[in-house]
Point group: C2
Chain length 333, copies 2
DNA sequence: CTGAAAGCGCTTACAG
DNA sequence: CTGAAAGCGCTTACAG
């Protein structure tokens, strides 16, 4: 493998000129650039980026911390992050934490040992942010909540879930059930608040028996819906805190002989690909994943490069998507 | 930020001893190790891995090239790769190629510029393997075919698809349709071969009109199934080359008023999470994603570290999963 | 087991 | 615009 010295020798210039021709061509004469490029071609030179990064104490890579890469909504975010990071010359290190504090820690270490320049965390996180003890630490939170410390890019989950419940109330539903994610999860907290606020504002009493807890997976949606099916009087609509649980709920209700939306309306959250192909397709809330990923990358790079962020928090618009899983309650309700 | 020299000074040893205490403790006395560890704690020293990697000309990271991270089967593979890579001290750089030759090239560059030590490519690939011009290049192909050059880890797709068709033949089906992936894709080629061989061996003539082309996405499965629905005489069973297309096909057939499996049986491939929750759940083929990821990582690291692989090719067992989307054809067929 | 020293391949003030 | 030179923070033969 040839190095910068060989290129310099062949081109008849100094190594400094070769280095500058590659990294700061505006500081070099065209004649030198030509000589250098020719020599690079002849020697088939590839710069050793490990050396360059070491020298400039920058790894040009960022860590994406994700609790579970198989989650389709997270996959959308990751894709967006990867595209925009690459466009800006950064690589993406995948950090699938599997909800393990220890694994998370090992990825934070990557930044502290200079192997990564910063972190984007996808999961809304209530646990301590070891990361955040140091406000200088380049860290962006995607999908957090109002209370997430540090820079956070998200939609207004309270408002979105409230809009969903209001939509069902407007259709005429009175008994609206809720399948939540795990209690500690900030998405759960925000969306639950939206649910309660909507009911409250239309004078319907919050009833704990209409709430079932899941954990944002399909099978947990099945379980939660099974549980609701044991009520003496079923809700006429069920709001699910994500599409996966809604899909599980569809499955459960159908197994119990219920027709959707005739007997019971079901709603999701996230608008994953599959939500428009299940039976029936889901009424849901779409988060602007592509835009969220882009803003996260731009913000993180700004932090890394020492710039101050103009906005501490980005709250983006969501989109309300109506499909066939919802309808007015049938007569008698 | 403290560096190795400060630690050495505080510990009263040379920098060489500090370096060895961290990287090769077996070469250092316990007394020295203790002094070094104490000094590290006092100075809150974090080694600069960028320097270490540069010095040892190894990045300890590998690239995972994937055509589309949103594909749930690929997500399973990536998760497995990430877990096993991390366990061996390697980071995973995500390379979502979006089917762009140019993006792919830029990830191969990462290896040539020392920012990554090797590549695992998830996509079975027929295009030229620029990577593979050099047999020294640490490269592993996951999910390839018999013809994939280089080290390849996969199941026997011909055999698996043949088994699926034979299963339907055994149920009594005679007109078996096929929804394929894109023509060039090696999975498509292998699975098509399995389909043809099974028909041939039971004396059924291959009929092009029962074949519809998709591209491994849900919507393409909908389209392909819509197309098959225009036949004068429908097949009694449809084999789909992956679960997503099968899910799309379910949707289409139901929209056409067909009952599954009563009117038409549908089968998938891959056993993605959703395949057991759709309506009806899919009969499908499970690939051992966890094991495939592990072998890919182990093999790649062996290549990186200069070892020779004991097997050029790993062909793993698949699992045949029977669910409710298949049944014997109804009377009259 | 330990230390002094060379050097990995670049970048970047500095002086011209 | 260019070159000589110092140096980034480590690792690793080498000699003891």
């Amino acid at each position: 493998m040839s190095n910068i010295r060989e290129v310099a020798k062949l081109a008849g210039v100094s190594v400094a000129t070769v280095s500058r021709a590659l990294s700061h061509p505006e500081k070099v004469s065209q004649a030198s650039i030509d000589k250098v490029m020719k020599a690079i071609e002849q020697t088939n030179y590839k710069p050793n980026m490990l050396a360059r990064n070491f020298r400039s104490t920058r790894s040009y890579s960022i860590v994406v911390l994700v609790p579970e890469i198989s989650n389709p909504f997270f996959a959308l975010l990751i894709r967006s992050i990867e595209i925009h990071a690459q466009a800006k010359g950064y690589s993406v290190l995948l950090g699938d934490t599997q909800d393990s504090q220890e694994r998370e820690k090992s990825y934070i270490d990557l930044v502290e040992t200079h192997l990564a320049d910063g972190i984007i965390q996808l999961r809304p996180h209530t646990a301590e942010y070891p990361v955040h003890a140091n406000p200088q630490f380049p860290y962006i939170n995607l999908c957090g909540t109002e209370d997430t410390p540090g820079k956070c890019i998200r939609i207004d989950n309270v408002k979105a879930c409230k809009a969903m419940v209001n939509y069902l109330l407007d259709l005429g539903h009175k008994r609206i059930g809720l399948i939540t994610g795990l209690k500690g999860n900030p998405h759960t907290i925000d969306r639950l608040r939206g649910y309660r606020e909507a009911l409250e504002e239309s004078g319907i009493k919050f009833d704990q028996k209409y709430i079932a807890e899941g954990e944002y997976t399909i099978w947990s949606g099945v379980n939660a819906a099974d549980q609701l099916c044991e009520l003496d009087e079923l809700p006429t609509a069920i709001v699910c805190m994500n599409d996966e649980m809604a899909i599980g709920a569809l499955q459960s209700f159908k197994a119990h002989g219920l027709r959707i939306p005739d007997d019971i309306s079901v709603t999701g959250f996230d608008n994953i690909d599959y939500s428009s192909y299940c039976d029936p397709p889901l009424t849901t809330i779409a988060q602007p994943a592509e835009e969220m990923g882009k803003i996260a990358v731009d913000s993180l790079i700004k932090l890394i490069e020492g710039g101050a962020l103009t906005h501490e928090e980005h709250v983006l618009d969501y989109e309300f998507i109506t499909r066939k899983s919802t309808a007015a309650p049938s007569n008698g309700d």
